[in-house]
């Protein structure tokens, strides 16, 4: 994989266009390499928007964390 291919993939990843699994399939060996490449480009790991097939399960997940945090205050 050339440096420019790598950079392109990382930019796509940061923009939420491809997944970490896809990066792994294309030659990134571990997530530290991904973080490093993001850091080199001044980018950060993406935060997923609330869409896709698992929105309900994710909303439940956030509610669980919210409730657990509230209970500990």
């Amino acid at each position: 994989m050339t440096e420019s291919d790598r950079e392109k993939l990382i930019r796509q990843y940061a923009a939420g266009e491809i997944t970490w699994t896809a990066l792994r399939e294309r030659g990134f060996e571990d997530y530290v390499q991904v973080l490093a490449a993001l850091g080199e480009l001044g980018l950060r790991p993406p935060i997923a928007p609330m869409d896709g097939p698992n929105v309900a399960a994710r909303e439940r997940g956030r509610a669980i964390i919210r409730e657990a945090l509230r209970a500990r205050r």
């Binding site: 571990d30 991904v34 850091g39 950060r44 790991p45 698992n54 964390i65 919210r66 945090l69």
Partner: protein
């Protein structure tokens, strides 16, 4: 009676992101028991001196009351593959599925929350079991931020990327040093050969 509940880490990426940002402790803020499947743990820590590996081991040992490494059949397979020099890609997630199934089977009232990396959580097949919920690293951090338990999720993610970049640069420079040393030795050898002729 309280229902059994576990936060299951499905991949190395949440652990590596948080450890590089010196923020592993945020995983314990909600006070939920954390399960790390053996294959995920091994993948994150198997290379001694790898970024974050030692800190993850130390952190788990410091919180054995809250964090548990779960043995799985997939973990045994992973060990075999490592011994044979084969790929272990994707085994962490399979081990997480095994961990989840075992946990749900152990008690019909058991509930679990699966922690995923953000880009992967959007593309998963739909989870239909009502006892299973999902959370991504980003969602998790946002909830902590909303509860004023961390200053900013972006700050943690930026810190992880910056630390990753520094580690990679150090790795590159040490590789350069090794290469330079090898070249130096080779040149020295050639000079000795020339002198002997």
């Amino acid at each position: 009676m309280k229902r059994p509940f576990r936060l299951i880490v499905t991949d190395t990426s949440p652990l590596l992101t948080l450890v590089l940002a010196d923020s592993l402790d945020v995983l314990l803020r909600p006070g939920l028991a954390v399960s790390i499947p053996d294959a995920v743990y091994i993948e994150a820590t198997r290379v001694r001196g790898a970024p974050g590996a030692d800190q993850i081991v130390e952190w788990i040992n410091a919180h054995l009351d809250m964090v548990k490494i779960v043995p799985t059949d997939i973990g045994i397979d992973q060990q075999r593959r490592l011994d044979e020099g084969r790929s272990i890609r994707g085994l962490g997630e399979q081990a997480a599925v095994e961990t989840l199934e075992r946990f749900l089977r152990s008690d019909p009232t058991a509930e679990a929350l699966l922690l995923f990396e953000d880009s992967d959580v959007r593309r998963r097949h739909a989870i239909v079991d009502e006892r299973v919920s999902l959370i991504s690293t980003g969602d998790f951090l946002r909830e902590l931020e909303a509860a004023h338990m961390i200053q900013s999720s972006d700050h943690i993610l930026d810190l992880a990327a910056a630390r990753g970049r520094n580690i990679e640069r150090q790795r590159d420079s040490s590789t350069d040093t090794t290469t330079r040393e090898r070249l130096r030795r080779q040149l020295r050898g050639n000079n000795d050969d020339l002198k002997q002729r």
